[in-house]
């Protein structure tokens, strides 16, 4: 591959085409799991922008790879791409043509068959790390509240961790269950609220309170791998 030019062109082309035909951008992935690629013609002078059919392309003279185009020019490029596509497919609508198109060429090293065009499943390792960090931050907030009488709104200096280190003996996997002492079926959040009201001597939290949600997240996160056993006593 050239000094990054064709790569950038592919990405940019995808982005541009997304605006036109409603398809999500397909970011290239490193290693053996890389998504199939649409090989674009090499750039002679300027930037090659490719339509997401993997065939139609246009060279924009005078644009450096990796540099953004002004909006007007970008729109003009997308119009030119679609015009070329229409000339190559007279009398066709792009929506139906795209749906019937064969799968893109598999990238070298890709193993087995892979479903394509699935926006939901098209995430990268980087996406996964971002989502994990978001989730961990939510759990960490629950951890903070779990260990603080003040954040729990407690009035007698008691916090959850005093009886439940690492959320031990909170057994979230056993809910919902009939809680004999409450004379009704309880969820984990009911028990959290019970503890907040009684040993912690605070005020109960409403079900959508961010603190209650974070507490639930922390408690559940401590029980990874434990089989669900609702109703267990």
């Amino acid at each position: 591959m050239g000094p990054g030019r064709t790569w950038t062109a592919g990405v940019l082309g995808g982005v541009l085409a997304a605006a036109l035909i409603g398809s999500a951008p397909r970011l290239p992935r490193a290693g053996a799991d890389a998504l199939p690629a649409h090989p674009a013609p090499p750039a002679q002078d300027g930037l090659v922008v490719q339509l997401c059919d993997g065939a139609t392309s246009v060279t924009v003279p005078g644009v450096q790879a990796g540099r953004p185009m002004p909006p007007d020019q970008a729109v003009a490029v997308t119009r030119e791409l679609m015009a070329r596509w229409q000339r190559a497919h007279p009398g066709q609508r792009w929506e139906t043509a795209e749906a019937a198109a064969p799968a893109a060429t598999a990238a070298p090293g890709q193993r087995g068959a892979s479903q394509q065009g699935d926006t939901y499943a098209s995430f990268t390792e980087r996406d996964r790390r971002i989502w994990q960090a978001e989730t961990d931050a939510f759990v960490a907030e629950g951890n903070r509240i779990f260990h603080s009488a003040e954040l729990l709104g407690g009035t007698i200096g008691v916090s959850c961790d005093m009886c439940h280190p690492n959320a031990a003996n909170t057994h979230p996997e056993t809910y919902p269950k009939y809680q004999v002492q409450l004379h009704r079926v309880a969820l984990l959040r009911d028990m959290i609220n019970w503890c907040i009201e009684n040993p912690v001597k605070g005020r109960t939290l409403s079900s959508d309170d961010p603190k209650l949600r974070a507490l639930e997240a922390y408690i559940l996160a401590q029980r990874r791998g434990v089989p669900l056993a609702y109703g267990k006593h």
């Binding site: 007698i156 008691v158 961790d161 690492n166 003996n169 002492q181 019970w194 009201e197 009684n198």
Partner: protein, 385 residues
């Protein structure tokens, strides 16, 4: 939820008020009927009041040759005695928290109701929650209500605000020993920790809060420390190997679960110092649960807390421990309590776990020294999750 469900404390106080109101308007005949019925119920359940302090026979001398607990020649001289314990009260100041005050007062009432009285009462450490002077003074004031003499032991919650200054001002040195009816009794400060606070620039309050948390992973592990181990060697130097040794330690003097500091880093070294003695019993606090273990010649008993029960740790539980039923969160006192130990004529120690609102559980020394072959206590109905 608030409107529909009353707290345990509220219900208890309401029931108490009802009874007291009824008693005020009660004639002599009704009163007698009431008290007879109460007495009958108590006797029918085999509970001598206060039920958490059943009296049991204390002398088992000369029996049980099978488990190696028979008196050997030359061992005569220890007279059996009993002592009670109260431990891990975790007091805040009275204005902040009544819950823990109520619990330790209940334990003091229990012990004062013992007849005959124990020879002494061991306080097992963690009198205060955050080591504040007001907390320690409140604790001393409550414990001063005990009829029997009190032997104090320090816990990490008493220590890490001012590194023991206030505690020592009130109760004296944390490390000491004495002889009692033929036994040698040692009290250790076993909650020293390597300095983790200077590098992190923690204030005394932050240091205390860090140590007070079980699951934060920031603090160091408990240790007896080299200086105190040397003291222990010197202290035991003139004690014959046949003399029963009682060691009081806040942290368990073995390795149970490191992440929660149910752990003593130099436990192996301390055990080595105790190894030459034939009958050694370690009584420890900190773990807030029914817990017992046997390592070589040493029997270990964990004490109950008055404040709250800890769950059993996910790993490392001694094989000999029979878990207590898991606690009812709706009952402040369940899983908590106090207890007493009987030092038998043969120098071994039987323990009664006086669990509040439950029947007491007796663990005989024979169960431990036989490594579980005899006198196995009943299994719990509700194991931990």
């Amino acid at each position: 939820m608030a409107a529909r469900h009353k707290s345990v404390e509220t219900k208890y106080m309401e029931a108490r008020d009802t009874v007291l109101r009824a008693l005020r308007h009660c004639d002599r005949r009704t009163f007698l009927k009431l008290s007879t019925a109460t007495m009958g119920a108590v006797l029918a359940k085999g509970l001598v009041p206060p039920h958490s302090f059943q009296l049991v026979e204390v002398a088992h001398a000369g029996e049980n040759a099978q488990t190696g607990t028979a008196l050997a020649a030359g061992e005569i001289g220890h007279r059996p005695f009993t002592f009670a314990y109260i431990s891990d009260a975790h007091l805040y100041e009275r204005t902040l928290n009544q819950r823990f005050v109520r619990a330790i007062v209940k334990a003091v009432d229990d012990v004062n109701a013992l007849d005959p009285q124990p020879d002494f009462v061991l306080f097992g450490g963690d009198l205060a929650q955050l080591g504040r002077p007001g907390e320690l003074e409140l604790g001393r004031q409550i414990l001063s209500g005990l009829k029997a003499p009190v032997k104090m032991m320090v816990g990490e919650h008493d220590w890490y605000l001012d590194l023991g200054a206030k505690w020592q001002e009130l109760f004296g040195p944390p490390t000491y020993s004495f002889d009692w009816k033929g036994c040698h009794v040692v009290v250790l400060q076993s909650v020293y920790e390597k300095d983790f606070w200077t590098e992190r620039k923690l204030t005394p309050e932050q240091r205390m809060l860090t140590v007070a948390g079980l699951d934060n992973g920031v603090q160091s592990r408990f240790e007896v420390g080299e200086e105190q181990r040397e003291w222990l060697k010197r202290d035991l130097a003139h004690v014959p190997a046949t003399t029963p040794i009682l060691v009081f330690s806040h942290s368990p003097l073995y390795k149970y679960y490191r992440p929660w500091n149910f752990w003593t880093e130099d436990a192996d070294e301390v055990q080595a110092i105790l190894r030459p003695y034939r009958k050694v019993t370690v009584i420890h606090g900190h773990t807030h649960q029914m817990l017992f273990n046997q390592i070589g010649n040493i029997s270990f008993y964990g004490m109950l807390s008055t404040a709250w029960p800890w769950p059993y740790a996910p790993q490392g539980l001694p094989k000999l421990t029979v878990q207590m039923n898991r606690a009812d969160p709706f009952d402040q006192f369940d899983g908590c309590g106090d207890g007493r130990m009987t030092v038998r004529a043969d120098g071994l120690v039987d323990t009664i776990y006086s669990l509040w609102d439950r029947n007491p559980v007796t663990i005989r020394a024979d169960y431990l020294v036989s490594h579980g072959k005899v006198d196995r206590p009943p299994a719990p109905q509700f194991a931990s999750y």
